[in-house]
């Protein structure tokens, strides 16, 4: 059966030499094309610059959404981010697509830092791998109880008091 609708999203994080991350996000589907380019300053993870908008939409009103993006400059990737971004970009006068796009950019920033930690857990014996996961949890307590693998009854949580 043929598809009647298709959405394709891509987010990429590129570390830059001057202590910044460049993040690009694009969402394209039958109805809409939206794009965000963002610079995030390290080490405080502050959104330093952002540009983009909706370049194609069946709703002409979406063309006005690009001016909203500047509102997230100065926001830090950290606790409460979802509420802050939806407060700034969401609602009846906002743009749900761009709000989600900003959040997906920020999530990709976090995963960019998680990736090397995950790579460390891929080496060694099963017990060594488990211990590296526990080290990761001690370093990132926000992961505790975030999914089935880090639930209280998970074997990865044995011996941890977090």
């Amino acid at each position: 059966m043929t598809l009647r609708f298709m959405r394709n999203k891509l987010v990429q994080v590129e570390p830059l030499q001057e202590g910044r991350l460049s993040v690009s996000w694009r969402s394209e589907d039958d109805l809409l094309c939206a794009e965000i380019r963002m610079k995030v300053r390290l080490p405080d993870l502050e959104i330093e610059a952002v540009e983009g908008g909706v370049s194609r939409s069946v709703h002409p009103e979406c063309a006005g959404a690009s001016s909203l993006l500047a509102k997230v400059v100065g926001v830090r990737v950290g606790p409460g981010l979802r509420k802050i971004v939806h407060g700034l970009l969401g609602g009846a006068d906002g743009c749900e697509e761009l709000a989600e796009g900003v959040l997906e950019c920020c999530n990709a920033v976090i995963l960019n830092f998680t990736l090397p930690q995950i790579r460390k857990t891929e080496r060694g014996t099963e017990e060594e791998k488990k211990e590296r996961f526990r080290e990761m949890l001690r370093f990132n307590p926000r992961l505790v109880r975030s999914c089935v693998a880090f639930a209280d009854d998970s074997p990865l949580m044995q011996g941890l008091d977090l």
Partner: protein, 152 residues
Amino acid sequence: MIGFSRSMLIGAEFVGEETIRFHGILEDHIYAMEIRMDVEVPTGAIRSIQGWMKRYTNPVCPKAVEILQRAVGRSLREEGWISWVNREIGRNGCQHFAEILIECGRCLDSARLADALRGDLERDLRIDLADRARSWVRGDPEASGRCMARPR
């Protein structure tokens, strides 16, 4: 050089008049996962769901596949469905399955609108798409007030 990259692909096919079948694929430097689910159009209820973990980080992750079944019967139209998915499918199962499910759910109304507009275009290539989209949004009380393109 790119440090991290993620792609998410959602496809929607209509199985009969009242069911949309979503295929959602997530692929990034860490994870590779897929969901297929059938959603009843009038109610938004999830009729069936299957998940595949193709790349994951530890041996506990696949336990989340069976937790996806908790979504059967839940509606993608009910108030707070996204929070429910994040909590029950994400926190109790896998956050990445939750992300795919939520993206599929967000595509539900877009798929309906795209299908309606395509039908209109097939009948008359000269139609004003923006005008048709505006009428469609006006006729959907759930969409009202959601964003600048869907005013109250």
